[in-house]
Symmetry: C2
Subunit: 375 residues, 2 copies
């Protein structure tokens, strides 16, 4: 099989495992940094790897528009092009073209849309998405699907889910079983438990190497998302990895792992690093805030990242963020991915030791303490 999943331990619904790919192992629960256009913004591949990331995500939508999937293929594929040698997961482009409100037209066949780069017209379908992901050479490809923003009416959610399941079958058919590359199905159904179950059954009938929980983190809020995660993961095959798409903040990530999610991705640690936000065990620190301008202390005591262990003060980080210096986004991105990497490692350790509930209490207690005392 193109992808193995070794479930090593469970602790409540939380799972410790290893996903095996042709390009190496992904320790789960895993957080996947997002490398939208062939680069995790502000980071070199070796630096990303050093934060504990085993796998990164690439975006079909961005890469098909620029530099173009056929071009990436001629240049040896996305791994060689981007310099990231480990596993890569590509999304299908579906979610991003759906977000082009007013600029796209959805039919049963697929989606016609205009590029945000140069306005040129493009078409994505299950077949073309599979072709693009093959050209990029990702280790894990995602089915081409569709989902509404929430809240949405049940009829809209049901119709969308049903089309996504027909697209899932077309995706599987087009993708085939190439041996060294895997395809994940995506469960839809909004906040409706029965639609989620139906979607899961349709996906199991088709058969995939892994299963994603899709259509969340689209406006429903954490409580509603956790409500879905209380039942959705268990509807998916236990012997295959479960991927929650587009999540999230640290407490979202912890809550998802607690509920049986194995893989996640989100732009949050990278994007917020570029706007001056540093994530720590005691919460988010906004380095733009003037209270940091004379603070000689590191962003997070004990953190091994170059921003914290490199001797940089909060005052320096404040200065470079305010001055729009590149090093501000570089250091805070590095810190944030390091924090996420340590968070995932801590959860894996806790699950393996059967102490996840204790660990989770400590996680919330540290956050409740809030940021450092005044200097």
């Amino acid at each position: 099989m193109a992808l193995t999943f070794d479930l090593k331990a469970t602790d409540g619904a939380a799972r410790l495992g290893e996903v095996g790919t042709a390009r190496g192992v992904v320790r789960t629960p895993a957080f996947m940094p997002v490398g939208t256009a062939g680069t995790v913004k502000g980071m070199l591949p070796g630096q990303v790897r050093g934060t504990g990331a085993d796998i990164v995500l690439g975006n079909t939508y961005h890469l098909m528009l620029r530099p173009g999937a056929e071009r990436v293929a001629r240049l040896g594929g996305l791994h060689r092009f981007s310099g990231w040698e480990g596993p890569i997961l590509t999304d299908s482009g579906g979610f991003q073209v759906m977000s082009l409100a007013g600029l796209r037209k959805i039919t049963e066949e697929g989606v016609r849309f205009a590029s945000h780069v140069d306005g040129t017209r493009h078409f994505l379908s299950p077949e073309r998405s599979m072709e693009i992901q093959a050209l990029l050479g990702s280790d894990i490809a995602m089915c081409f699907d569709e989902c509404p923003a929430l809240p949405a009416g049940r009829d809209r959610i049901a119709a969308s889910m049903e089309m996504s399941m027909r697209w899932a079958a077309r995706s599987r058919e087009a993708f085939g079983h190439p041996g060294d590359r895997a395809l994940f199905g995506i469960q839809q159904g909004g906040l409706e438990e029965d639609l989620r179950r139906e979607s899961a059954e349709r996906l199991r009938e088709i058969g995939f190497e892994g299963y994603a929980v899709g259509g969340l983190a689209v406006g429903e809020g954490q409580e509603a998302m956790f409500g879905v995660l209380d039942h959705a993961p268990a509807q998916l095959p236990a012997n295959r990895p479960r991927y929650l798409m587009g999540v999230g903040k640290p407490d979202d990530v912890v809550g998802a792992v607690k509920r049986g999610i194995d893989m996640m991705d989100c732009v949050l640690p990278t994007r917020s690093g570029r706007t001056g936000q540093g994530w720590t065990a005691r919460g988010m620190v906004n380095l733009r805030n003037a209270r940091h301008r004379d603070d000689p202390r590191p962003l997070e005591e004990g953190c091994p990242c170059p921003a914290c262990a490199g001797g940089y003060s909060r005052a320096f980080l404040h200065h470079v963020v305010r001055s729009k210096e590149m090093i501000g986004g570089m250091l805070l991105t590095w810190h944030n991915l390091t924090y996420y990497g340590r968070l995932m490692a801590a959860m894996r350790g806790a699950i393996g030791a059967g102490r996840f509930a204790d660990w989770e209490r400590g996680f919330h207690a540290r956050r409740a303490e809030g940021d450092l005392e005044p200097v």
Copy 2:
């Protein structure tokens, strides 16, 4: 003395040496990357050091406005603040406030000006510039001076030079002889050989740990600049380092070394890296150009920088430059500083071996070959 200069070899007018400071040795001829606001843009200090740079430059004007010299001092000085542990040279702020045409007023006392950051009113004088550079804790400080853009009338140049020499005496007086920090005088006089000689004599009378050739690279062109460098360095003490401010492109740098310059600084390799330009032994490569979009070859064969040795293609660099990805500026800055570092090392080797003229012929011959053949 706060600064030693060990002249190890000469080859024609070119000189091989070592400048000794409290924070380490600077191998000369040396190129100093510019770290305007406490950071060499897009680079961490260890990465800058890895390109072969022994010393970096910091800008008094930028740092006094943000984060403020007194604040940097409270935070332990510019070395600790910025994470660069090697020698730092600070300019006096004079050149930059002079460039604020319309926003500054020059008198014998000093210069009143408005901040480009927030419009607040500030004052710089020889005394205040020395105070700021002491607060920053730079290893080499520069006299506060003034110079006109070229071309300029002889009377304007003479009057400006004479005021700069009065300011040089005030700078020396205010700076004192702190023992662990050095002060460089700055020769002025435009393109006028006799004014340059007079300026040099006035500076020698005052006495400095090193001497800069100022007032060049301000619009006069390479031929006129080399014309000045044919006589100006020899007007300065042979047993002290000679620093050419704000220069330059690789062929400017080579021509300056040939004429007896020991130290230089310029934003070119860093700034042009952020706009997609890569400097190589065969000339400048504009990665924005569409001819690179399918080119699998590295920017420069044999270069040890992460852009070239890291396996990145010109096609990738083109893509990230066009996509405005941070990694484009990061990689090209790194490459350009690596190229400058290798260029300086090659010149030091050639001078030490008495082969500078041969080396220079090879330098120009490689550039004449131009960039790579088409794929």
